[in-house]
């Protein structure tokens, strides 16, 4: 009898220890990012931004007293790698939330997240198809907003009325190209040629020779990552002298350094290099911060805020459903770049700046306020 009682007491104690551990155990979230491949430069920013946010959150006492831990995974722009990472996060790590990036990988993991009630926060991918998806929130505007501004600016302000396109052969590239065709036509422009390139390619001369022969007053680069600098340099090498243009995702360190990209017409989303965050980033990682670093810093902070809210509401319990409800009810989040409001389509809207790339910096010529 005595042994039975001892066993029961031991069990109760063990159970209590478990509960206590659960209460103070770190909160694990995922981050599926382009850590290698043609978009590795985004990966440096995204990972760094999220890491700094987690450090700040933990230094301030964590989320309702629990530490935040981020599990990073690499998708290398490959949707199937993203799916494997997501399965591991959902089934093994049982996370309530993950940061995600890129259009095709995010679209590939979204059904898994929705099925297992795991909130996904995308701060990088911009395909229009990322909007209106269950459990997926985009703290970045979808590309049609930005491309719309770009098309108007090119046709009306820059008086460039015919364009050739170099398009990355993936979800993001094709979606941006399609949107550009529509918006540019609406602004009175005409697309006279288009060639597709692979995201991990390094020689685009055949494609560029073809768009050169097609004519046009403008080369619109509907691609991103390392690709952009290679396209720009090889275009100039082939004697393509017309202006080039691209949206905010073309602005990676490689592009800033590429001689061929000098004078490129770009739209960008707001990023203030004077932010204390940017200084912290530079000091920690030795590279200049960029827009996408802030995005993943903010994405992590948005999670912390929503998780706190969810735990308050659910008596300390934290799950994806609670986080989703909290995001919907909080709706307006304070971030280091201003108020972020999730629109009914689950995407953010932001000011969009248009300008020229000169000497490694964008000289802004025009700012279009969010929602206009």
């Amino acid at each position: 009898m005595r042994t039975v009682w001892t066993a029961i007491v031991a069990l109760i104690l063990a159970g209590a220890a478990c509960l206590a551990a659960a209460d103070s155990a770190p909160i694990k979230i995922g981050a599926i990012l382009p850590l290698t491949g043609s978009g590795a430069s985004y990966g440096v920013w995204m990972k760094g931004g999220a890491e700094i946010a987690a450090e700040e959150i933990n230094a301030a006492g964590g989320i309702a007293g629990r530490k935040l831990e981020i599990i990073f995974d690499d998708h290398a722009a490959d949707a199937s790698k993203a799916v494997n990472a997501m399965r591991r996060l959902v089934e093994v790590e049982k996370v309530p939330f993950t940061l995600t990036s890129y259009s095709a990988p995010t679209l590939a993991i979204q059904p898994i997240g929705a099925q297992h009630k795991v909130v996904m926060m995308n701060g990088g991918g911009q395909s229009d198809n990322l909007a209106n998806k269950d459990y997926l929130y985009n703290n970045i505007p979808v590309v049609s907003n930005e491309v719309g501004v770009m098309a108007d600016w090119l046709a009306h302000d820059k008086k460039l009325h015919s364009a050739v396109l170099i398009t990355a052969n993936d979800e993001a590239g094709r979606n941006s190209a399609k949107t550009f065709r529509d918006k540019y036509a609406a602004a009175g422009g005409r697309v006279v040629g288009e060639e597709q390139v692979t995201l991990d390619g390094t020689d685009f001369r055949a494609q560029l020779a073809k768009v050169k022969a097609a004519g046009g007053e403008l080369l619109y680069i509907s691609s991103y990552g390392r690709n952009v600098s290679i396209i720009a340099d090889q275009a100039r090498e082939l004697g393509i002298a017309i202006p080039m243009a691209g949206t905010s995702w073309t602005l990676v360190p490689e592009t800033f350094k590429a001689p061929g990209a000098e004078g490129m017409l770009v739209t960008k989303l707001p990023f203030d290099p004077e932010l204390p965050f940017a200084k912290k980033f530079k000091a920690k990682y030795g590279v200049d911060a960029g827009f996408f670093a802030v995005q993943y810093y903010s994405g992590t902070k948005i999670f912390a805020r929503a998780a706190e809210e969810a735990m308050k509401k659910n008596g300390g319990r934290l799950d994806g459903e609670g986080v989703k409800q909290a995001i919907e009810s909080v709706k307006v989040f304070d971030t280091i770049s201003g108020k972020l409001v999730f629109q009914p389509n689950h995407a953010a809207i932001m000011d969009i700046e248009a300008g020229v790339l000169r000497g490694g910096k964008v000289q802004v010529e025009k700012v279009i306020k969010a929602g206009h």
Partner: protein, 294 residues
Amino acid sequence: MDLLLQLLATGIVVGSLYALCTLGWGLIYGTTLHFHVAHGAVFTLAAYYAYVGQKLLRLPLAVAALAAIVLAAVSGLLIDRLLYQPLERRGAVRTTLFIASLGLLILVENTLAIVFTPDPLRMDIGLLQRSVRLGPVFLTHLHLLTVALAVAGYAALVLFLRRTRAGQAIRAVASAPEMARTVGIDLRRVHLLTYAIGSAISAPAGILIAMDVGAEPYRGTTFVLLASVGVIMGGIGSIPGAMLGGLFLGLVENLGVWKIPSEWQSALSFGVFLVFILVRPRGFFGRHVASAEL
């Protein structure tokens, strides 16, 4: 018309790179009958040797490139000495050698990806990067150098095979190995020499493409595949055939996109190859394809 000329010029440049690869692989295959896919690893290693030489050891570009060619030759030789010869001594069939070769290729590629990341590593090539204009055609100095080196590599190989005793020994082994053995030629030494020379001929292709667009770990697979296609098209055992086969592939890939969308580019060379092998199985100059065993 301008487009056609530009594509023709780019085709010749790309074809020259393929030709260098094809010449090296063709020489090795024609002489040893090893389906040496690890040639792709040698080609890739050459690029990384040059990269390490220039960027990490701070050697001048030309010195780094020359050292890389020598190291590539040694690498090729060691693959035969340490992998194929021991296997052959134990009576391994050609398929076994092929699988071992494939394993080595994958091992080298993955090791390079882990050590150097899968991202392309750019080298500093200074003035070679400059664009030159030849009428409506734009090329860089590096591209002109590429074509010159392919022609020089071809000429040097032909002269070597015709004029030197070692070259004649290689030709003897290539055409009749048993006969060569009976007249006292050491097959193993000839194989080693063939590997060294075949690797040294293809190494510049790996280095030149790294100078152009960066060193990448997985590029060798595509190149060795194209090299084998080029050799079969050119005719197995034929050096002029290998040269032409390589050039032909580069031209098909680039001229093909004149009227076809460019996403078909890589499918084109293999498509043409399939048609070619059905219509003209001997290749341009060579022995019958059906007689060439793997």
